[in-house]
């Protein structure tokens, strides 16, 4: 059963190395053990998604975890690019940021983000969040999974 179920592939867009490591760690600790890539900024994330240099062989992720504050191109801008592209807009995007500001939340949902989550301070909360993410988006909204099952 486990082998037939495809692995959830997640792209993490995060400028902070420590945060990226933390997210990666928590995701790997989940039962799904998804495959994880990391982009350091918005431009890199878009290059990865559009399979441009230096990622010509990049795979299409099943979920994008996007930080709001990014160097070069910020999270909202990346989100806008994804949601306005016909090929990419079906990929679920979850905002994962330290900002709990209502303004940021509204702006993100206005740009058609699929979910908005605040990075929890407590580690066990972080673990639970990673598990929930994998559970929900892995089972419901995995185009690859649908393809295989179909």
């Amino acid at each position: 059963m486990k082998e037939t179920k495809p692995k959830l592939k997640i792209l993490i867009v995060e400028d902070d190395d420590q945060h990226a490591e933390l997210i990666q760690f928590t995701l790997c600790e989940t039962s799904q053990k998804p495959q994880v890539w990391r982009a350091r900024d918005g431009e890199e994330a878009l290059s990865f998604l559009q399979k441009r240099e230096p990622f010509p062989d990049a795979e299409r992720p099943g979920l994008i975890l996007l930080d709001l504050k990014l160097p070069k191109m910020d999270g909202l801008e990346v989100l806008h690019h994804i949601k306005s592209s016909p090929e990419l807009k079906t990929i679920p995007v979850v905002m994962l940021t330290t900002s709990a500001s209502r303004k940021d939340k509204i702006k993100a949902y206005e740009s058609h983000v699929n979910s908005y989550l605040v990075k929890p301070m407590d580690f066990s909360d972080f673990m639970r969040l990673a598990q929930d993410l994998c559970n929900y988006w892995g089972s419901l909204n995995n185009p690859l999974a649908l393809e295989k099952s179909g």
Binding site: Q18, E21, L22, P71, F123
Partner: protein
Amino acid sequence: MSDDQQPTHRRPMSYLRSIRARIMLGFLTLIAGICLMSAVSYSGFGTVTKEFETFRQLNQRATSVLELDRRVSEVQRYVSIFSYTGHDSVADRTFAVVGSIEEQLVAIRSLLKNPQDVERVNRLDGHLKTYRDTFSQAYEQRKIRKVLEEQDYPRVRRQVEEALQNYRNASGRRDRLGERAYVEISELEENLFSYMLQLDAYPLEQSLEKLKVLQRDLAESSRPQATFLYQALGGMHRLAIRIMQATRSFLYLTGVVMAGEALEFSHVSTSLRESILAEMNPVIALIQTNTRQTQTFNLVFSLMCILFGLVFSMAVGLSIARPIQAVAGTLLKLSRGEKTEIPGVERSDEIGMMAQAAGVFAKRNEETEQLLKRAQTLTRELDLSKKELERSNTEMEQFVYTVSHDLKSPVVTSMGFIGMMKVFAEQGKLEDALNKLPTLEKANQRMSELINDLLDLSRVGRADTEHEFLNMDEILENVQLHATGLLEKYPADLTISKNLPNIRGNETRVAQVFDNLMSNALKYTSLTPSPTIKIGGFQDENGTRFFVKDNGPGIPKRHHDRVFGLFQRLDVSIEGTGIGLAIVKKVMKTHNGSVWIESEGDGGGCTFWLQFPPYGDKADAPPA
């Protein structure tokens, strides 16, 4: 101030030249004109009234004279009635009327002044006297005739009757003479009465002749009866003659003398009346002339008064209205807030007072305008302050938001890594757990750095308000000294110009600015081969400028403003809190200066420019 407060008391108002006085004068002149007109009219009417009184008196005299004439004709009528009837009452009435005429003559005489007229009245009086005397005689004659007629004649007639009766008895009925006597006596009697009524003398004289013939015939008879008849007839003849005489004298008196007197009286009275009328004519003419003169004079005088009143009232009215209009116009202009010359201030009447008051108002207007301007300026300043406050509020919000976000980040890291370490420890991977310790330490260190830098930023412009004269050469020497550690980590070719222009400012903060800029330059040129940093400065009329120039990757134009924001970092791989440039910007602001970047960002290096205000603006002169 007291001079300005009492401008109206400086020139005392002349009562005689005041508008009130002028209006009063106008009305007084009007009343005087009306009085004069009334007086002229009154005197004119007085003259006419006097003339009219004269006319009335003359008219009364003329009427009296006419009345005389009427009375005289009345008397004449009475006289003729008397002459036929012989009644005493008529004679009495005649005398009474004559008496009243005499009285009237006396009254008329007293009224007359003209000697000719008085003479005429005297003549009238004379004629009247003659008339009355004549009437007295006529009255006597009439009385005599009456006696003859009523007493003598019946007696004589009876004697003749008797004698004739005797004669005829004696001589028989057939006696011709007796018959003739009878006829002729009857005829005589008839003619006598006829004469008394008609004064026709001829038939009576004929009868008397016939009677004489009869007498003669009787005389030839010798009979006693004939003699007796003869005597009786003789007596009758004599009586008839006497009656005739009495009638003649009476009729002569009344018909000739009295009528002549009456005629004469009437003639004189007519001439008197004419004289009076002649006297009246000039009076009437005078009245007419006077009336016409009064009328003309009144008309001319009234016209003159109207003309004068018109001219005078127009002059007074204009002399009042013109300056009032001018002042009213000025007040209207003042009320619209226009600035204008105020006419009539030099006048000494009410207009002058009004003009002076208007001057005070104009001054108040100006003061009010200035106050308004001041209020507007204050409002504008208040608006600016409000905007500044709003901006500062927004900045504050932004600051809190940014700070909370960036401070949370290391906490998330710390907590996360501690959790990870715990997991590793549970799994027995102690090595892995220990490997996370440096990251954990770094995160905490970063948090501490952030807090320190934020405190620093918050202190800028608050704790250090002292500005002093700064020797920039000394300051940059210290900055270089302070950066020795960093220079060892990021070696670079650092050139600092000498004899830099001096400025005024806070030493610590200015040093911090250069420190931050130099650190940035050193950090960002670390990847560039042969990094070069140049620091210099110069002075011009706009103030003092410094620059920090490097040959690093540079900053793209679109990020020029962003990099001065809090926690804005171009490259997260390069260490730093993202607060340094925010501090630079704030320090420059507190020094009334500015900071900007000159760079294209394509590896062509980057120049930070600092502009300080010129000496004198915010700085004291440098010490000698």
